[in-house]
């Protein structure tokens, strides 16, 4: 049994905040050091408590920032602030928006220690715990729904290099994009790690990407490719 993760939670909706807190604490894998309702409170709590990871809502209008009526991204800004001030604290951003642009905004300066999950996952405690552990270890994770939307959208573009990938290679690409390492992909797809490695090399060759050992840089490369593939098409 590993040491429970110390985390800080932020959500402006009390019901959501309390529901998630109870769920996570009930799992026994997490200790919620603080649950707050706004971005300033979150930054304050992180400074005081130095948690291993943070779970925050993307939108917290209580802070009264952002123009009226426009989706605000207080959560993303807080994530960037935390990541630059406390590199040992990972941040999981929960979002209502499946749009890729929010994810790319989060990964603006790199994917290390950051995760972008849809709020729908809040009931799937395993997925939440996985993301928290990943970011606390400096890894990254993207909600498979966002990746799926990206891959599906880009693969439809006629000139896209994604059309050259076999279905199996596409599966591996999806897993890569979600931030999984070779071992994780092998476990997820029930393959041997060496097979995964072969697939990864094939994908990188087909997409003209350079092979990267570090998984978070690999994620960045894949995500950047996916984002720009549509434009090249």
């Amino acid at each position: 049994m590993p040491e429970p993760l110390r985390i800080v939670m932020a959500d402006d909706n009390y019901l959501v905040r309390e529901g998630a807190r109870r769920l996570l604490e009930d799992s026994g894998d997490v200790v919620v050091a603080a649950a707050v309702g706004s971005a300033p409170e979150l930054l304050d709590a992180v400074e005081r408590l130095r948690p291993a990871a943070v779970l925050t809502d993307i939108r917290m209008p209580a802070s009264q920032r952002g123009p009226e009526g426009r989706p605000s991204m207080e959560g993303i800004e807080a994530a960037h602030a935390i990541r630059s001030a406390y590199p040992r604290t990972g941040v999981v951003v929960l979002s209502q928006y499946a749009d890729e642009s929010y994810a790319f905004e989060l990964f603006r300066d790199g994917t290390a220690g950051l995760a972008y999950l849809l709020k729908d996952r809040i009931g799937e405690v395993g997925r939440l715990l996985e993301a928290l552990r990943e970011v606390s270890a400096g890894g990254s994770l993207i909600d498979p729904q966002v990746v799926e939307a990206l891959v599906r959208g880009r693969a439809r573009v006629r000139a896209s290099a994604l059309r050259d990938l076999t279905p199996r290679e596409l599966d591996v690409l999806r897993e890569m994009a979600q931030g999984r390492g070779n071992a994780g992909i092998a476990a997820q797809l029930h393959l041997s790690e060496s097979s995964v490695e072969k697939y990864v090399n094939a994908i990188f060759t087909k997409l003209s990407l350079t092979t990267e050992d570090l998984s978070h840089r690999r994620v960045t490369a894949v995500l950047t490719f996916l984002r720009d593939a549509g434009l090249r098409g």
Partner: protein
């Protein structure tokens, strides 16, 4: 005076007609011819002039000339020979006829002096004129008498040797015999008395101003010309051999020319007094035509005369050559003369149509401008030669404007309304002509002017109206575009509001439920008994969430509004509102359906107003009334809250309501004052026919719905 003239005319004309009849009966062709070309034209011109202008003194004199000429001709040429044949030259009846003939002759001269010498007023204005007129009148009466009492025979002038009878006087007195020569000479000179008239006219011309000179000029030239023909004619009659054919030919030609010239001169004079013409151009055109005819006649007569005169002294062939040469030369001279006449008479050619054209051109100006009015007034005055003219027009905007050309004196001689299909657009008023009262032709032309002006002004009004309407439409279009933009902005704001409600409310509730589900699942996996309580909580929260979703949907569009109608929706709202809400409405409005657009708009305004009441008014009660009158749906939301200052700038909310109402042609009135509550009144046109149709089909529809509900 007019009656006296008429009597004189009847006598003279009667004598002439009688003479003509007798001549026709006796078959005296030459006499008939003479009557037709000699006195008759004067009579006819005089008669026409008198009928047209009974007040014109020149015409009176002319009637006198014609009557006396006619009487002289009748007495001298027809009745005297008849009397002579009947009673003999010694008879006193014959002598009386001769005396009357003489009086007619001298009267003719007096009338001619009056007509020519006193032209154009027709009455003596200076002392010497009076002297001349009265002297000549006295001489006209006395000279024949003195002649008769001093001489044995009555001195009858005429063409010697043409059968003028020698009539014994019968009343001659031997004592006066020595004076006989003087009196006879005085009488014989009478055809030249008219010269006195010409002299008077010349004096008038000499003394007159430019305008009077223009009037006199033609007559002066005419009568001078005529006399320059009469003198050689008389010399010929007295001195030449009466038996000579040449004498006769020349005499005939000269007398014809002399009479024609005299006639033309008189006609011209009459035109210048305005007896015949309606305007200057018309007068000029007629003068021009008469001149051309006269020139042609004169040239022809000259050519024939030349030929005839040559034939008296030279062989026939030479005469023919001379005649032809004269005729050919005459054509060239005629061309020159006509050209000169054209330039002289028609220096600036203007016709009646030209006047109308100029008048019409003046109308192509914006209405109401003083330039237009003064142009029109000027054209009317110049065109009809009026003393003054005033044109007033109803400018498309503003009061009636009038401009007068000339100086008005006294009552207007004519007033013509400028009228288009019963609408008075203005009027033309004018004084008399500068040469006399208005003629029927003048009034007709005035009416034409007015009709033309009416159409023109009406068109200008239409044009002005059109540009005003276009301006209005443009403004409305701009306002519509602005309103549409505001409506779109309002819709966008509403969408964002709904998005926020869903996102921040229901969506979060569901997320929280999702977390709770995860928790319960873990508890169940562990066999934790707390799971049952967690599930019960979740069920309760799900019911709350469902209620929230229902409320949101209701706020967006209440189903009762589309299913049942506006009144029912309002009544339903009263049970949901946090405040006591009273509904006042005509029960007949129950079940009445208006257009969807109208119902939704009314509902939108109602819910906005109610939300304002709840948020801002601090009211204890709100009253909503619904009515329908005069094809308008009325909705009033009145509260007893704190009210607000109407002078404060309107917020976006109220403008949004106005714009929303604009889309259905409705209007918004707000009454409020601090501390006195607020009432929001809305009127939306629904149209009678629309309601009627709804009422007719209403029960059926309602019944159908009730069945559906059941």
């Amino acid at each position: 005076m007019r009656a006296a003239i008429a009597v004189l005319a009847v006598l003279g004309y009667g004598a002439l007609v009688a003479a003509l009849s007798v001549s026709l009966v006796t078959g005296d062709g030459s006499e008939v011819g003479w009557i037709l070309v000699g006195p008759l034209p004067f009579c006819v011109i005089g008669a026409i002039g008198f009928l047209r202008r009974p007040e014109n003194r020149v015409v009176w004199w002319l009637v006198g000339v014609g009557a006396a000429f006619g009487a002289e001709t009748a007495l001298g040429d027809v009745f005297l020979p008849m009397a002579e044949r009947h009673w003999g030259t010694g008879s006193s009846i014959t002598a009386l006829v001769a005396l009357l003939c003489q009086w007619a002759g001298t009267s003719n001269e007096v009338a001619a002096i009056g007509m020519i010498g006193l032209f154009p007023p027709g009455r003596p204005e200076r002392g010497y004129e009076r002297v001349v007129i009265w002297t000549s009148a006295a001489a006209a009466v006395l000279v024949p008498l003195l002649d008769a009492v001093s001489a044995a025979n009555i001195a009858l002038t005429g063409v010697p040797g043409q059968g003028v009878p020698i009539v014994r006087s019968g009343v001659s007195l031997a004592a006066l015999a020595p004076l006989r020569g003087t009196f006879v000479a005085a009488f014989n000179s009478y055809p030249f008395w008219t010269v006195a008239g010409v002299v008077l006219l010349a004096l008038r011309y000499w003394q007159g101003k430019a305008a009077e000179r223009r009037q006199i000029r033609w007559l002066l030239i005419g009568v001078t010309g005529s006399f320059s023909l009469w003198v050689p004619l008389f010399l010929l009659w007295w001195e030449a051999d009466p038996a000579s054919a040449a004498t006769n030919v020349v005499a005939t030609v000269l007398s014809a020319l002399a009479i024609a010239t005299a006639l033309v001169a008189m006609l011209t004079a009459l035109f210048y007094t305005g007896v015949f013409g309606i305007d200057e151009p018309g007068r000029r055109a007629l003068v021009h035509r008469v001149l051309r005819v006269s020139i042609a006649t004169a040239v022809a007569i000259a050519a024939v005369t030349a030929g005839l005169l040559t034939s008296l002294a030279a062989p026939a062939a030479v005469a023919v050559v001379v005649g032809v040469t004269a005729a050919a030369g005459g054509q060239a001279i005629r061309g020159r003369l006509e050209h000169a006449a054209d330039r002289w008479v028609l220096g600036s050619r203007l016709a009646g149509y030209a006047n109308l054209n100029r008048f019409g051109r003046s109308l192509i100006q914006p209405p109401g401008s003083d330039g237009l009015l003064s142009d029109l007034a000027g054209e009317v005055r110049r065109g009809l030669d009026l003393t003054w003219a005033r044109v007033s027009l109803d400018a498309a905007d503003g009061p009636l404007r009038a401009v007068t050309d000339g100086t008005p004196a006294g009552e207007p001689a004519a007033t013509v309304p400028i009228e288009y299909r019963g609408t008075i657009l203005g009027g033309i008023e004018c004084g008399p002509r500068s040469d006399g009262p208005l003629l029927a032709e003048d009034r007709r032309l005035l009416a034409y002017f007015a009709a033309q002006a009416a159409v023109g002004v009406h068109n200008l009004h239409l044009a002005a109206e059109l540009s005003r309407r276009i301006e209005e439409v443009r403004d409305q279009a701009a306002e519509l575009a602005a309103s549409r933009d505001r409506v779109v902005a309002g819709q966008d704001a509403e969408r964002r509001r709904i998005q926020r409600i869903l996102h921040d409310g229901v969506q979060q509730e569901i997320v929280a439920l999702s977390a709770r589900t995860g928790l319960v699942r873990q508890q169940l996996l562990r066999g934790d008994p707390a799971a049952a309580g967690g599930l019960a909580d979740m069920q309760r929260d799900l019911a709350t969430t469902l209620q929230d979703v229902r409320e949101i949907a209701y706020a967006i569009h209440p189903p009762v509004l589309s299913d049942r109608g506006l009144l029912e929706a309002i009544e339903a709202q009263s049970t949901r509102l946090a405040l006591p809400m009273a509904v006042c409405a005509d029960p007949r409005l129950r079940g009445v359906r208006f257009g969807e657009q109208i119902e939704v708009t009314a509902w939108y305004v109602l819910s906005e107003a109610l939300s304002n009441v709840v948020k801002h008014a601090a009211a204890s009660e709100v009253e909503v009334s619904l009515s329908q009158e005069d094809g308008r749906l009325g909705l009033v939301i009145r509260d007893d809250g704190c009210g607000f200052d109407l002078d404060r700038p309107r917020g976006l909310g109220l403008t949004g309501l106005s714009d929303r109402l604009d889309t259905v042609g409705g209007s918004l009135t707000i009454n409020s004052a601090t501390g006195l509550g607020t009432s929001v009144c809305v009127h939306i046109p629904v149209g009678r026919n629309h309601v009627g149709r709804d009422q007719e089909s209403g029960p059926e529809q309602v019944a159908g719905r009730e069945r559906a509900d059941a």
